[in-house]
């Protein structure tokens, strides 16, 4: 079934995902649809999951939720596809790995170098009162945000390595991108991956 010539194509990737153990009965392993994710023991990829909680035992709640979530949701006009998405007044980046003792000034000093910071959210852990570990920063221009990402991602801030990336995307991301980065999953026994 695996065609060696299209090893980089989507097809083999999805086959690959289907190899996932236990799930031989599941017709669709690759992209868990919302439905399978929330119907509990009802089939799909959830069949093999350990489930827990009273929420699985209430059918009326489930019907109501499906009705609520099937309504139309507004979004900003987007072209779809890959790449960062512009927010209504600018470009938002996410900084993770932020030291729990960081102050807004620390982020202003570091990230202000790439352009004027229009907005900064440095949220706190509600239990401890320390910084939760992430910051959201808004720049007016794409170039400012892009420079902040390329120059600060993987750098150190207050003795911790931070990661910097866009917050919003024009479209859905494919799970295969995520998988590429860490080849050591239990699925790696599939020979097709190496083509």
């Amino acid at each position: 079934m695996a065609n060696p010539e299209e090893a980089v194509d989507f097809e083999p990737e999805e086959d690959d995902l289907m190899d996932e153990d236990v799930d031989a009965s599941s017709p669709r392993a690759p992209m868990p649809k919302l439905k399978s994710a929330i119907t509990g023991g009802g089939g799909g990829s959830s069949a093999s999951k350990k489930i827990k909680g009273r929420g699985f035992r209430e059918e009326t709640a489930e019907a109501e939720r499906n009705a609520r979530l099937s309504a139309r949701f507004d979004s900003l006009d987007s072209e779809g596809g890959p790449g960062p998405e512009r927010s209504i007044e600018g470009w938002i980046i996410l900084v993770t790995g932020v030291n729990e003792e960081a102050h807004e000034d620390d982020l202003h000093n570091t990230f202000g170098e790439f352009g004027e910071i229009k907005n900064l959210h440095l949220n706190l852990d509600r239990r401890s009162g320390f910084v939760k570990g992430y910051a959201l920063i808004e720049y007016e221009n794409f170039e400012e945000a892009e420079r902040a990402i390329s120059e600060m991602d993987g750098n150190e801030l207050l003795t911790q390595t931070i990661h910097v990336d866009w917050a919003f995307s024009k479209g859905p991301f494919r799970r295969r991108n995520v998988r590429r980065r860490s080849p050591r999953s239990h699925r790696s026994r599939s020979p097709r991956r190496r083509f």
Partner: protein
């Protein structure tokens, strides 16, 4: 432990609401495996406003959400001994992470006092703080992207 699970599937939904003289008022948000964040807030008080927004997140944002969940260790808890949803309100927290799927329900929690006096203060406290941290994360994302005040 978060590292290893990085490419497993992840889904999260939180709901809080009640039905009263202003109809069904609720707040709900959802992180989907493909990166879509959905946010709904229906408040009928004074003027009926239904806010429904959705936006795609980058994998980095989803990963941070997942880290917050993993650090909380909510997946180890159980809602068995939590106060049941009642007339005053209802909360639901549903999470799929790795090969675990939880769907917890409980009443509204007014304050830490409610947590303390419950039959499972430790578990409920984890839930209570996790929900606040998640709301805080979602409100920041939604308000920065759409420039609306989420509440």
């Amino acid at each position: 432990m978060g590292e290893m699970a990085e490419n497993d599937e992840f889904y999260l939904r939180y709901y809080v609401g009640h039905k009263g003289k202003f109809g069904h008022e609720f707040l709900e948000f959802e992180f989907r495996p493909d990166g879509k964040l959905r946010y709904a807030n229906n408040s009928n008080y004074k003027n009926d406003t239904m806010i429904r927004k959705e936006v795609f997140l980058t994998p980095s944002v989803l990963k941070e959400c997942r880290r917050i969940v993993a650090d909380s260790e909510i997946m180890k808890e159980d809602d068995n001994n939590w106060p049941e949803p009642d007339r005053v309100g209802r909360q639901e927290l549903e999470i799929v992470m790795g090969n675990e799927h939880i769907s917890f329900t409980t009443s509204k929690i007014g304050s830490l006092m409610d947590v303390q006096t419950s039959n499972d203060p430790e578990g409920l406290r984890i839930f209570y703080y996790l929900v606040q941290d998640l709301k805080c994360f979602v409100f920041s994302l939604i308000s920065l992207h759409f420039k609306i005040k989420p509440i």
